[in-house]
Amino acid sequence: MWLYYFNNLVASFPFFLKGVWTTVIVSLLSLVGGTILGFCIGIGRNSRIRVLRYSLAIYVDFMRGTPFLVQIFIVFFIFPEWGIQLEAFQAAVFSLTLYAGAYISEIVAGGISTISPGQTEAAMSGGLNWFQRLWFVIMPQALRPILPPLVGQYVLLIKDSSVISVIGLTDVTRVGWLTVQRIPEGLMVFGLVGILYFSICYPLIRLSNWFEKRLTIEKWTV
């Protein structure tokens, strides 16, 4: 009986690969969007414009204080009420991007805060405007403390992407959920799901560790 199920599972493998593809695509789009958003927000949190700082703080607070599941429900169920019809895929990428952006912004803001204010003052004294200060002086230095936790955050976000399965998107988790209805061997099916996620996440975890090591031997510190 077990063997029967096992053979069935092997036959379903292509279906799982499709799920992996969906997970990868959704994650990739959301991570790229989230990184861009996160950098903008992280930089914006240091702005002199008080309204901007406060509204960004509220946004980040909301995204970090509520479960991603609830956020997806809000996007998927409430947007239609406001006249915005989103497909599951669009809703998933949209929610995950907003979610990622908030967490990444914390990492970016944290990285920027490690740069001594003297650097900003020196750049100001040279006559550079805020964009030039940010681009030439602050950001190049801030990337060092930002990169390792950023990659770590990517891993977390890929795992969080499993929640999009609840709105019917066929990612790895959903494929598992659908399969287990036919093949009632939960351990096997979700064991496979776990292995698939592991193979996506593990390389990134190694990358994050490598970043941490390499970026400690900086070219400008002796």
Partner: protein
């Protein structure tokens, strides 16, 4: 939009939300305690000199940290029955949450213990303190102080993760919102209220974390 916000329905459902809040709090509390226990065990395993303990704990922690909680939840929900274990949804949920947070806490505890300067332990040794005295007076006080903030962070994650239990029909805060949506077709009122309650818990935990951090500063330097 706010004018069309049906506050009367929210008030009507308030008891249900409060019950959901209570359920979430209770689930989080129980899971937290189990997670701490599991985490402490895994941590000791990880720090052990016995290779088998070290490796087993390592595999457990890596497996949990490289796979999504939802997949783990489904793993137990769909998998345990085929092993003959008939746990209620509630028990399954707590099992998954505890194992998941336990793995993360194991790492937090390990980092806390390893952050203690070995010189301190040496000083203790040369003063004649035995293993348990060193543990009690030197290691534990410092380790606990250092690990409370990240542990609180993990607790916040735990509370948010508990939302996933709604997907296996456990009654808690998110489920309360889902029920309001499915019974009354008012996703905005339902999910925003849900979000608000989570934000409440989030801020309470954050305030406690800040209070603890302030308390730490006033401690005499060890």
């Amino acid at each position: 939009m706010l004018e069309t916000f049906n506050f009367r329905v929210i008030i009507e459902y308030l008891p249900q939300f409060l019950l959901g809040l209570l359920a979430t709090t209770w689930i989080s509390l129980i899971s937290f305690m189990w997670a701490l226990f599991i985490g402490a065990l895994a941590c000791m395993g990880r720090l052990s000199h016995l290779r088998i303990l070290n490796v087993t704990a390592g595999i457990f922690i890596e497996a949990i940290r490289s796979t999504p909680l939802l997949a783990q939840l489904y793993f137990f929900y769909f998998g345990l029955p085929s092993l003959g274990l008939r746990l209620s949804e509630y028990q399954t949920g707590i099992l998954a949450l505890s194992l998941n947070s336990g793995a993360y806490m194991a790492e937090i505890l390990r980092a806390g213990v390893q952050s203690i300067d070995y010189g301190q332990i040496e000083a203790g040794m040369t003063s004649g303190l035995d293993y348990f005295q060193r543990l009690r007076y030197i290691i534990l006080p410092q380790a606990i102080g250092a690990t409370i903030p990240p542990l609180l962070g993990q607790t916040i994650v735990l509370v948010k993760d508990s939302a996933l239990l709604s997907l296996i029909s456990v009654f808690e805060l998110t489920r309360a919102g889902q029920l309001m949506n499915s019974e009354r077709f008012m996703p905005a009122e339902g999910f925003f209220t849900t979000a608000l309650f989570y934000l409440l818990m989030y801020h309470i935990l954050k305030t406690f974390s800040s209070w603890w951090r302030k308390k730490l500063i006033f401690r005499p330097a060890m």
